[in-house]
Amino acid sequence: VKERGNKEFVALSERERERVLRDFEDTHEGDLWLTLVLGYTLEAYVGDPSYGGNPDEVVWRWLGHRPGFPRPPKQTEATRR
């Protein structure tokens, strides 16, 4: 699924990538998989930097988002649930 015309997904143009993903979205398993991956991507994108995404709150600053406090401690393998 990730390849079309013998090209790696990352080597595709933006238009081609969009078409590949939309075709995949039209399949049952593609819809489930993309829902899961997009959901986790959004957690990394706008979630707390302590989880490893959104480094230095770069997305929050771009977005004008104000986090609350107290902020969570840095997550380690031991504290991850």
Partner: protein
């Protein structure tokens, strides 16, 4: 000798006041709580950890419910919540769901205690008057203001319920400037917004901190102790007096009765899963309505083949939620002056206004004079992952990702303030909204799970639609545009009530007016289960107040002096 005078099952707004009052009055209390014991130090404004990873609720694989709904053609079908993901758990921890509330605190109004005699019957709904009046509960509403801590400000308005004290013991929490905009809009359309009381401390008291105005209040634990949850406000103090023990991660599995049919012992799974027993003179059940009914069913025995205190067949009947509706609008910055935009962008999290002009609907275009509901104003929850998920997944046909998603999100956060009017209406009691035990599905302890039959009465949908339209008018008068209003029929799973209604007649109610089981005189229920009708406000203040009232009845039954009498 028993292990304790009183065993309280459940540590939320229903169990907390009993543990607090009884232990203060000199009685020994053991509280069993299924969830863990978090303290202020365990709470962070961490959307992933606290809102998305079940930190405060059981895994639905281990502990599902089964929900039964009616299709359009009238057939009922049931599905485990593990499959549907429709979560009926709230806060399962010491202090219960009161840890996660937003703390909108409103008293029920005198007419709520007499809905049937005030507005008459409604076909297909089993509406009854309460066996007590507002005056019976008023001193306890006042007690909650002091002990749990309610902040607010009494002003002159036409919908003020009678009060025994002139004002709240705590001044109001800081208000967002939008409150003034709503105040100014009121007279334009003939409505009377007034300050919303809140179970959030505006200054430190009883070892608890004041609100830090961090936002992220509803759905999150409170890190300062300002939120009046049952743990910070009551149980922490009860434990300090030395007569109250809280056993966390202990799951009650049945109540055992003696040969006389009275409650004698509570059997539970401890932290390690081992089965233990506690004997008590009085057993108090406060697990929240669905689980309270389930525990009574699980406690069936020879004397009570249909469940403890259920020879009348009334346990589990007339489950209530809050009949929800809402309106949402944008205050778009481009419409306003620079100083107005600065006001809109102010960081105060609370708007603190409520509108009760349609608590009773007296409008010929609607129909006969009817029970309506209350409204309050909130900013859309600032959780960024939920917002991003909303834009990604709420398009009907396609997921939204990439630059379009980024633009949608940035535009939404930076071009306007978004305000929701939440509406609380009466969920009508019907025979098609009830709790039983599921015949097949079991939880991780091997116990049958609760099965919730769910239906909403068409009348409440009509009321919700009407109120949503009125809420939209209020928002527009305050300067909002793009207002969308919605009269939702789906239940507010965070506000359950009913299933063990109280009343004078033992053939039609589970509990007597003191919330003592008609059939078992040392068994009490003190969560929201007792409510035969729910009123049109969030239930928490009423549950707290009633639990304090029942605590006084229990103290009297044990031969002591009631707190209100002693403290007067």
């Amino acid at each position: 000798m028993t292990d304790c005078d009183v065993c309280v099952i459940g540590s939320g707004a229903g169990g907390g006041p009993v543990a607090f009052s009884l232990s203060n009055a000199g009685y020994s209390v053991i509280v069993l709580e299924k969830g863990p014991w978090f303290t202020e130090k365990d709470f962070f404004k961490d959307e992933i950890g606290e809102c998305r990873r079940h930190k405060f609720t059981p895994n639905l694989r281990d502990e599902p419910h089964v929900v039964e709904e009616q299709d359009d053609d009238g057939t009922w079908s049931a599905q485990s919540t593990y499959k549907s993901g429709w979560d009926f758990w709230n806060g399962v921890m010491v202090g219960g769901a009161s840890n996660l509330m937003s703390g909108f605190f409103l008293r029920m109004k005198p007419t709520d205690f007499a809905l049937k005699s005030t507005f008459g019957p409604i076909d297909g709904a089993d509406i009854v008057d309460w066996p007590i009046t507002y005056d019976d509960l008023e001193p306890y509403y006042a007690l909650v203001e002091r002990e749990v801590g309610v902040s607010g400000r009494v002003i002159q308005h036409p919908y003020q319920e009678p009060r025994s004290t002139p004002d709240f013991p705590f001044p109001p929490t800081a208000e967002h400037p939008l409150a003034t905009w709503i105040d100014r809009a009121g007279p334009k359309i003939g409505v009377h917004p007034f300050p919303l009381p809140r179970a959030v401390l505006s200054r430190p008291a009883n070892g608890r901190g004041s609100c830090s105005y961090s936002g992220y209040c509803g759905g999150y634990g409170c890190a300062t102790g300002a939120k009046g949850n049952a743990r910070a406000a009551l149980l922490d103090r009860a434990v300090k007096n030395g007569r109250c023990e809280v056993r966390a991660e202990c799951m009650a599995r049945r109540i055992i009765t003696g040969p006389d049919g009275r409650a004698r012992e509570v059997e539970y799974h401890d932290k390690d899963g081992k089965v233990q027993r506690i004997s008590a003179k009085i057993v108090v059940v406060a697990c929240q309505p669905i689980e309270t009914s389930r525990l009574l069913f699980l406690s069936a025995n020879e004397k009570f083949p249909n469940g403890l205190a259920n020879n009348s067949g009334n346990v589990g009947r007339f489950l209530l939620f809050s009949a929800a509706a809402s309106a949402e609008g944008a205050f778009s910055y481009k419409k306003f002056s620079e100083s107005q935009v600065r006001e809109l962008q102010s960081p105060q999290p609370f708007i603190n206004r409520t509108v009760h002009d349609w608590y009773t609907i007296d409008d010929r275009t609607f129909g006969p004079r009817s029970k309506g509901g209350s409204m309050d104003f909130i900013f859309i929850h600032p959780n960024p992952i939920s917002l991003a998920r909303f834009f990604a997944f709420s398009n009907d046909r396609r997921m939204v990702w990439g630059s379009r998603l980024k633009n949608d999100l940035k535009h939404y956060i930076n071009d306007a303030r978004h305000v929701i009017v939440e509406i609380f209406g009466d969920w009508l009691p019907t025979d098609d909204c009830r709790v039983t035990l599921d015949p097949e599905v079991k939880d991780k302890w091997g116990l049958p799970v609760a099965r919730v039959r769910m239906n909403s009465h068409p009348w409440q949908k009509k009321v919700a639609r009407y109120l949503a339209d009125r809420a939209a008018e209020v928002l527009e008068a305050a300067g909002s545009d793009d207002v969308i209003s919605e009269g939702s029929a789906s239940p507010s799973t965070n506000l359950p009530a009913g299933t063990c209604r109280f009343g004078k007649d033992p053939t039609t109610s589970v509990l007597d007016p003191d919330c003592r089981a008609h059939e078992v005189d040392n068994l009490f229920v003190t969560d929201g289960s007792f409510m035969p009708t729910g009123g049109s406000v969030p239930y928490t203040w009423t549950i707290y107040a009633n639990s304090f009232r029942v605590a006084d009845k229990i103290i009297r039954q044990l031969g002591g002096r009631e707190t209100l009498v002693a403290g007067a």
